[in-house]
Every structure is written in structure tokens, then in C-alpha cells.
Amino acid sequence: MGDTRREQLAALPFAEKLKILEKLRARSLAIAAAGLRGSESKTEDEPSAARDDKTDEPKS
């Protein structure tokens, strides 16, 4: 994802970002339910390459 697109997303109102977060969360849960976690999936069209999956690492 290009920096311009990232900047556009970063500039969205917080409420709009929260709606995107809800969609991302729903997608993550759907993938988890389908047993596809850990496999490579196409994510380039998602709003961010960054992932914050709380199941990845235990809190220190």
C-alpha cells in the first residue's frame, strides 16, 4: 500500500476508522473460524499491512 493511501486512511475521522476496524475484526474472526490462520492470504487490499492480533504473542 502506498504512503499516500496510508496517509489518506490516517486522515479519516476516528469514527470512520473505527468502522474499518470493525470490518477488519470481522474478517479476522471469519478467517480464524475457517481454520485459515497462519496461512498466507491476500491482504494487500486491506487498509494496513500491520497486524495487531492479540493471539500472536502473550502480553509481557
Binding site: L9, F14, L18, I20, A50, D52, S60
Partner: protein
């Protein structure tokens, strides 16, 4: 919940707070840091009043989370001086006409640096790339909380010390 006297000051932290400044990144839960009103502060801090209040309003629990509007919410008591300060200096945010509090970008970066997992470093890099950091403010926070060395190590690791 604040107006009902269940909690005192509060602020959103973690990935959702980072989203206030950055592009949205997938997360499964919402971290809310809380402090309790003076009237119910004691030597032993319990989150039970929060759970009781929300469960009384139909919010189910799920492990360590309580589910509010379909979001698993984790209520956290500040674990140290940095998180206490982050809570006190949170910035106000509006969400569809409702006012809420979000930790500052610089405190989120300092906390991420302190926690130090790969995903935390990834978040710090995002703040840097999108130029969301007030460096004098961050430097002040890092110095006061003994994190300057960690920042130097971070710079060496990701920018070969040239950032």
C-alpha cells in the same frame, strides 16, 4: 460509567488508540485504561465494579474481556508511572458526537517501546513513517521514564542509528 461514578479518568490505549493517529490496523479487542474515583480507591484495586456495572446492562463476559457493542473490551489499571501519565494526559476525541479520551501518540510510542514486542515496534515504526510524533515531547517522556536507552537501541535496530 464515568458519570455513574464507577470509574474516574479513563483513556483508550493499544491498537485502537493508535488508529486515532494512524491508518486502521486489525485488532481483536479494545484496551481501556481506567483509574477509580477517590471514593472507591483502596489498597487492592478490583475491576469488579466495572464488570458489575456493565453486566447489569446486558454486556456479557468472555474470558478476561467484557463485550460491549460486540467489541471485547479489556479494562486495565495503569501498571506503572508511564501508563498513569498516559492516562492523565490523554487527548479528547469525538466519535459521532460522543466525547472520549485517547492516549497521546507520544505516550503510545513510549508504552510500545517499553513493552517491546515485535508488534509494538511495528507500531512505533508506523508512527514514525506517518510523521505523527512530536519528538521533543517524546524525548521528554522517554527521559523521565528511563526509556532513552531503549529508544537508542530501537534506532540502531531499525535505522542503524541514523534516524
Amino acid at each position: 460509567m464515568q458519570s455513574a461514578g464507577v470509574i474516574g479518568r479513563y483513556a483508550i490505549g493499544g491498537a485502537v488508540a493508535a488508529t486515532f493517529y494512524l491508518e486502521p490496523a486489525a485488532t481483536l479487542d479494545l484496551d481501556i485504561f481506567v483509574e477509580f474515583p477517590e471514593t472507591i480507591k483502596g489498597s487492592l484495586v478490583s475491576l469488579k465494579p466495572i464488570y458489575d456495572y456493565l453486566q447489569g446492562r446486558g454486556c456479557p463476559t468472555s474470558g478476561e474481556y467484557i463485550v460491549v457493542a460486540e467489541w471485547p473490551v479489556q479494562f486495565l489499571v495503569p501498571a506503572g508511572p508511564l501508563e498513569v501519565e498516559a492516562l492523565k494526559r490523554a487527548t479528547r476525541a469525538e466519535v459521532e458526537g460522543t466525547s472520549t479520551w485517547v492516549m497521546t501518540a507520544e505516550h503510545l510510542v513510549a508504552i510500545a517501546l517499553q513493552t517491546g514486542r515485535v508488534k509494538d515496534h511495528n507500531r512505533v515504526l508506523q508512527f514514525i513513517e506517518l510523521k505523527k510524533i512530536d519528538y521533543p515531547m517524546l524525548s521528554d517522556i522517554l527521559q523521565r521514564h528511563g526509556l532513552s536507552l531503549k529508544w537508542k537501541q530501537f534506532e540502531v535496530r531499525y535505522f542503524h542509528g541514523r534516524h
